[in-house]
């Protein structure tokens, strides 16, 4: 049938093309990205709230502002999972046989980071957490071997995937605890409703060998930390609705809470400053800096956007810089290199803004980045 249509048409076109059909332009094959990832790249994840069956993630080069490509990532998309060497892209995804209904299938899709093409998938239990995205709903162990995905049905559990063998290992009940906070090659922590961390230990097959509940490290009835904790070396840095910082050293099975401190001075607190947003924290490891998205607001504004990023020295536990953003923001991220970029986006206005993370200087914007962009990831 195909040929039937093609040939008559070629003839039909001949009078138009005339003798000019000599050397048509060669259409190169689809773009392949460089083998070396650029630390100034950023993935912008989009849940597409009004059309949740069509999740997407967009790759942008922070230096040039160029849009490099995208992935189609299914229904209720949260975020990618990027291994430390960026040799693969893993994506926990949900599909229904009839778009929004029918049989649900959850998969981890493996993408080639140069070709942005699926290279395989692992089917996992159809229980992946459906929620407003944060980066702590799935994570990779420190040696990049296992991916752990948080489930909520509303029973709580995790699914563990062997990334090397491309195999689903097992689902393990984690009742009472949520999030996935990696803390070693064979260990991760989860945050429990009572304000404690649970330590989960794996064997070399990825099977859970031990679950240990620990003592609460904050008062879960008065000063809730957000789900958006960030990792600084072997320390997870939790920040509460009220701007208190709770660092927890996870280098051993028994988490070691550090001394709590506040993002806010007496005066700033009086002026109702507080952290807020969907992704309100970022860490730059090299300089031991914490970036915190801030706004002025009362109780219950912990997810409001901000236009200020305050920077803290995590070692000295003190504020070192204030950056005024060009626009309101609900998500910030910092690149991992030693000339870091600060990325910012607002879920209600999909323009990615790029700053020099050291000076705070506004560099450039990239517009038309999705519909409701949520969280940012840097390789």
């Amino acid at each position: 049938m195909f040929r039937k249509l093609i040939f008559p048409l070629s003839m039909l076109l001949l009078p138009v093309l005339g003798q000019a059909v000599i050397k048509p332009e060669v259409m190169p094959p689809s773009i392949v990205l460089p083998a070396e990832s650029n630390p100034h790249w950023v993935w912008v994840n989009d849940i597409v709230f009004h059309h949740m069956a069509d999740g997407k993630s967009y790759l942008v080069d922070g230096d040039s502002g160029k849009f490099l490509g995208m992935l189609s990532t299914g229904l209720g998309f949260i975020a990618l999972a990027l291994p430390s060497d960026y040799s693969q892209i893993y994506s926990p995804e949900t599909y229904f046989s009839r778009g929004t209904r029918g049989q649900r299938t959850d998969v981890i899709t493996f993408y080639d980071p140069r070709e942005l093409k699926p290279t395989g998938e692992v089917i996992i239990p159809p229980k992946r957490f459906a929620a407003m995205p944060t980066l702590n709903y799935s994570a990779i162990t420190d040696d990049d071997r296992f991916l752990v995905v948080y489930n909520f049905t509303p029973a709580q559990s995790v699914s563990i995937i062997d990334l090397k063998e491309r195999r689903f290992v097992a689902e393990t009940d984690t009742g009472g605890c949520a999030l996935v906070l990696p803390s070693g090659d064979r260990r991760f922590n989860m945050l429990c409703g009572d304000g404690s961390l649970m330590t989960v230990t794996l064997n070399d097959k990825g099977e859970v060998t031990h679950q240990q509940r620990n003592a609460p490290f904050f008062d879960a009835t008065v000063d809730w930390v957000t789900e958006k904790a960030v990792r600084w070396g072997n320390t997870w840095v939790f920040v509460s609705f009220n701007g208190n910082v709770y660092p927890v050293d996870v280098s051993t099975e028994q988490p070691q809470p550090g001394k709590s401190w506040s993002l806010l001075s007496e005066n700033e607190r009086k002026e109702s400053w507080r952290p807020g947003g969907i992704q309100h924290l970022a860490v730059h490891q090299g300089s031991n800096k914490l970036y915190s998205l801030m706004h002025q607001g009362g109780d219950d504004t912990h997810k409001d956007p901000g236009q200020d990023v305050w920077v803290y020295d995590l070692k000295q536990q003190k504020q070192v810089q204030k950056i005024k953003l060009d626009k309101l923001s609900t998500a910030i991220q910092v690149s991992k290199d030693d000339k870091p970029l600060l990325f910012s986006i607002f879920i209600a206005h999909p323009t990615l803004d790029i700053y020099d993370a050291s000076s705070g200087k506004y560099l450039r914007s990239v517009d038309e980045i999705g519909f409701t962009p949520t969280v940012l990831q840097t390789p």
Binding site: M52, T94, A131, M132, F152, L179, A220, A348
Partner: protein, 174 residues
């Protein structure tokens, strides 16, 4: 509210309604409905007038400011073919959800509100409203509005809209 104005200013195709008393990100930044361990359905079908603690209604249930919506997150079912306490045609209610406490402007009393999601179709896309009143992080799931509570429905996580159902009168701890 300045930033909300800013957003509305440059967007006709706004993804959220304005609300005079609600924070925004709010309206966009968080999704869904929370938790109520109390099974709402089925309950004996009491005649409306016979319920001793049925609050008086006032206001527009298609407005984010309607009193029951003091802690809602999502598209108002009242704008989507349902009502403030009823799912639109073809959607299925999530039996569990999260609750808020809202003050009825007529009698000044506080009521426990359950924000049940209606599920099984794509987002309705109309009357996006949200506040985070009383919202807690997802590790305290039954107090978190970040969670898509359609996960607990028989038709799974496709989220269409949210209702606001009065569970009863709230009695302060104090």
């Amino acid at each position: 509210m300045k930033w909300l104005d800013k957003f509305s200013e440059n967007s006709a195709r706004s993804i959220a309604r304005q609300s005079s008393r609600r924070s925004f990100i709010a309206k966009v930044g968080t999704l869904m409905v929370g938790t109520a361990a109390v099974p709402l359905l089925p309950v004996a079908r009491a005649n409306e007038s016979s319920r001793p603690d049925a609050p008086s209604e006032t206001g527009d249930p298609e407005s984010c400011d309607y009193w029951r919506y003091c802690a809602i997150d999502g598209f108002l079912c009242d704008c989507c073919g349902g009502s403030y306490n009823t799912c639109p045609p073809g959607t299925t209610v999530s039996p569990i959800t999260w609750i808020g406490t809202c003050t009825n402007p007529v009698d000044g009393k506080d009521y426990i509100i359950s924000y049940n999601d209606c599920c099984g179709k794509s987002s309705c896309g109309r009357c996006l409203c949200n506040t985070n009143k009383g919202d807690r992080p997802v590790y305290q799931p039954f107090q978190s509005n970040d969670i898509n509570w359609c996960a607990g429905s028989t038709v799974d996580v496709s989220y269409n809209c949210s209702t606001a159902v009065v569970l009863g009168l709230a009695v302060a701890d104090s």
